[in-house]
Every structure is written in structure tokens, then in C-alpha cells.
């Protein structure tokens, strides 16, 4: 474990995540791995879509849990741990559902701990290292502003289980957005130091935001079947929220010059593999372990 402070909430949530009742140790075969970015992934767009929604939460939740014991003030240490709990809890429910629809006997724990980076379907934004506090909170705000809109759209999904999970998650996401937006305002409209760090974070992260609204065949199938909202339809409202808060924060939106994408099809940055090697180490060192 590269993170020596596996404290309270993260430890407990991960413990629940590998509880014995869900563990199916026989699914993963040591030494056998995927050859390409697309192997090992179901062709059913429904399953792929659920993995995308779930993996965003699992990866971002893990990144947030890295702050346990390290945040600048106690209240924020607790707040980020609570964000992580919400997101990992949502991921657990979504992965369980994805595994059920896939019908290959993969539990939520198998999906979380025994997929390699190329099989993860999260966007690149959430896998970037947590950086400094400004980087973490600006990233959180950019994601939360999107997440509230996505979950609103998922509540009416033709997939009733997904709709139920989303209805619950939406309430949590609204609290997240209120908190992260407040922090973007305080950091941007704060000291020269905090302003500079917040602006740098925004500049560094901006190129990763178009992926949230990118559309491919999976999205088209999902919209067609009424499972999820059209990502393009969320973009303008997202942009309006972001613009408003960024302006209040006396920050400047960077120009739309480049879009870094690939996470949705398994082409990740180098950072995800390193993160997973930490996150998955315990489950892989002791397959089938229970406590």
C-alpha cells in the first residue's frame, strides 16, 4: 500500500466491498489477462454503460479516499471521506447491477478488484492524481456539476434498478456540488496563492472535461433504449453552472483547444494503472479473503 493512512471510512467501505458474501474468487485466473483495450468487456452497450457510470465513481471515490488523514483541515478530511463513501457506495450498487445484467457470475468485488486498467471505463478526468487541495476540489466541482445533471437524467431510466440507484445518488450529488462549488469560490476569490492554485487546476483539468459529453455507439444505443440521457443535452447546462461559479470565484475559463479522451474505451493515462495497483493489491494478494 503506498497510502499508509488507510483510515476510518475508506477502510470500512473497502471492507464492506470485499465482504465474503459477494466474493467469487474463482472468476479471476492468475496470469491470464486481456490483450487489447476492448477484450474482456461485454458487447452489450447496457453493461458497458453501467460500467462507465460505476467506474467514474469508484475511481474518483478512491482518489478522494487518498486524502484521509492528509486534508488541510479536519472538517475537510471528514468531508472528502464522506464524498468517497457516497461515490464508492454508488459504484458498489452499480457494479452489482452491471454484473447481474452481464450474467457471467462477476460480482461487484470481482469487477472492482479483478479488472485491469484497460477494462475500466471511467473518464480520464477522475483518474488523474489528486494533486493539491485546489486540484482535488476543482476536479470535484467539474465532476459534480456534471453528475447532478447525469443523475437527474437517469432517475427516469427504463432500467428501473439504475433509476432507483440514481434517485438516491442524486440527493448525495447535490450536497457534493454545493460543497465543492463553495470551495471553488473560496479558493478562487481567496488569497493570491489559493487563486493561483485554483486557476492552475482549472487550466490543467479543462482539457479532460469534453470527454464527459462525448458520444459514441454505446451512448447512442443507451439513448435509443431510454436507459440514459443524451450527454450532449447536458453540456450547455453544465457549462452555465461552471461559468457562473468560475466567474464568482474570479477565475477564468480556459479556451476550448483540445479534448483528451479515451477512458470510455479503456485507453487510460498512466495514472490509472498505478492507482489500481494500490487499490487492488489486497484483494489480489489474498483472493477470496474474508473478514
Amino acid at each position: 500500500m503506498t497510502n499508509p493512512i488507510a483510515t476510518r471510512s475508506s477502510t470500512r467501505s473497502h471492507a464492506a466491498f470485499v465482504s465474503n458474501k459477494h466474493m467469487t474468487s474463482g472468476t479471476w485466473v492468475p496470469g491470464k489477462r486481456s490483450d487489447t483495450a476492448t477484450s474482456g468487456i461485454a458487447s452489450d452497450p447496457h453493461v458497458t454503460y453501467l460500467l462507465r457510470v460505476a467506474d467514474d465513481r469508484l475511481v474518483l471515490g478512491h482518489r478522494l479516499s487518498e486524502w484521509c488523514g492528509h486534508a488541510p483541515i479536519l472538517e475537510e478530511d471528514i468531508a472528502l471521506g464522506n464524498f468517497a463513501l457516497d461515490l464508492i457506495g454508488q459504484a458498489s450498487a452499480l457494479l452489482k447491477h452491471a454484473g447481474g445484467i452481464e450474467s457471467k457470475g462477476r460480482s461487484e468485488d470481482t469487477l472492482a478488484y479483478f479488472r485491469d486498467a484497460v477494462e475500466y471505463r471511467n473518464c480520464l478526468l477522475v483518474e488523474l492524481p489528486r494533486g493539491d487541495f485546489a486540484m482535488t476540489l476543482v476536479r470535484q466541482f467539474l465532476f459534480d456539476a456534471y453528475d447532478v445533471l447525469l443523475l437527474e437524467g437517469l432517475v427516469t431510466s427504463t432500467d428501473k434498478t439504475l433509476g432507483g440507484i440514481a434517485a438516491k445518488a442524486e440527493k448525495e450529488a447535490r450536497y457534493h456540488l454545493r460543497h465543492s462549488a463553495e470551495w471553488v469560490r473560496m479558493l478562487g476569490d481567496g488569497t493570491a496563492e489559493s487563486h493561483g492554485r485554483a486557476q492552475r487546476a482549472l487550466n490543467d483539468l479543462w482539457t479532460y472535461t469534453p470527454e464527459l459529453f462525448a458520444v459514441d455507439d454505446v451512448d447512442r444505443a443507451i439513448v435509443e433504449r431510454g436507459i440514459g440521457p443524451d450527454p450532449v443535452g447536458l453540456r450547455d447546462r453544465w457549462r452555465a453552472t461552471v461559468q457562473r461559479v468560475v466567474s464568482d470565484a474570479t477565475l477564468t475559463l480556459p479556451p476550448d483547444e483540445h479534448a483528451a479522451t479515451g477512458g470510455r474505451t479503456g485507453r487510460h493515462t498512466e495514472h490509472l494503472g498505478r492507482m489500481l495497483s494500490d487499490m487492488q493489491s489486497l484483494a489480489r494478494a489474498h483472493p477470496g479473503a474474508t473478514w
Binding site: 464492506a16 465482504s19 471515490g61 464508492i88 454508488q90 438516491k168 463553495e182
Partner: protein
């Protein structure tokens, strides 16, 4: 013959480990009790998606019913309808206040949380009353507290920090 009402009564003994003054029934975590030939099924819903107390609550439910001679209890988890603090009764809210946790208001009275307002403009009389002195001269210190369901407040009248059960 086992009656569902008996099971509901016995479940009153199962307290939430993070809010030990309330039972899982009072909190609205238990949604349904079904008694069939195959056995007893208890349907529960998590308060928050990642509530770390759920596993312990499940084990406690099985243990409490086992102590009454009910074996082989099945647990089902549902997400819809989403849990809300509106399911906490007025009597249970009074217990919370007596325990030192400001109870939640009702969801309809809560300002839309997505309305993103600056912390600095949020001055004035708070809707949250101090559970110790009753004053409304309180301020939010942190939206997130010792558990996902609680926020940290501070009373300017009696100078006491206290927890608030968030309206959710």
C-alpha cells in the same frame, strides 16, 4: 404462527450503531417484513449509498431475530424509493434532540441545495435550533460530520458545537 407485527416490534431493539438512540425502524431503514412458508424476509434500504453501518445493521437484524427464535432470516436491499429523513417520526426527532443531535426538518422546507450560494452571504437566523439551549443563533461549520448523515453546527448563544441530522 409468527406475525409480522411481532417482527416489527423485535426490530425496535436494533439500534443504528451511529445514532444509537434510534432504532432501524424509527429511522425508516426497515421497509418491509414478509413472512412466508420459506421464512422471514426483511427488506431494508440504506440511508446513504455508502453508509458503512449497513453491514453491521444487517448482522444485528439477523442476530436480534435469531434471539427470538427466528432462524434463516433473508435480507433484501432496495434503493427505490430513496430513503428520506421525512420517514423519521416526530417522536423519533424528539429523541434525537434530547440526545444532543438537532433533528432534520422536512425536505419540502429545506432550501434547494443545488442553489449554489456563497457561504459568506448565508448570514441571519438559522433554521437549525441548538439542541442544548434552543437558540437559533447557530451557524453551519461543516456540511459533513462524523457520519454521512450529520453536519457540524455551532451555537453562538451557548458557544457549543453540536451535530445536526441533515435534512435529506
Amino acid at each position: 404462527m409468527l406475525a409480522a407485527n411481532d417482527v416489527w416490534t423485535w426490530l425496535e431493539d436494533v439500534k443504528d450503531p451511529e445514532v444509537p438512540v434510534l432504532s432501524v425502524v424509527e429511522l425508516g431503514i426497515v421497509r418491509e417484513v414478509r413472512i412466508e412458508d420459506a421464512g422471514v424476509t426483511v427488506t431494508i434500504t440504506p440511508t446513504y449509498s455508502g453508509c458503512p453501518a449497513m453491514l453491521e445493521i444487517e448482522q444485528e437484524i439477523v442476530r436480534a431475530l435469531g434471539a427470538r427464535g427466528v432462524e434463516g432470516v433473508r435480507l433484501e436491499t432496495v434503493y427505490a424509493p430513496a430513503w428520506t429523513t421525512d420517514w423519521i417520526s416526530d417522536a423519533a426527532k424528539q429523541k434525537l434532540a434530547a440526545y444532543g443531535i438537532a433533528p432534520p426538518s422536512t425536505v419540502a422546507e429545506e432550501p434547494n441545495v443545488v442553489a449554489i450560494q456563497s457561504r459568506r452571504s448565508a448570514a441571519g437566523r438559522s433554521a437549525v435550533a441548538c439542541p442544548y439551549c434552543g437558540s437559533h443563533e447557530t451557524e453551519l461549520r461543516s456540511q459533513y460530520g462524523s457520519t454521512a448523515c450529520k453536519a457540524i453546527q455551532f451555537c453562538r448563544s451557548c458557544q457549543q458545537p453540536f451535530e445536526e441530522f441533515k435534512t435529506f
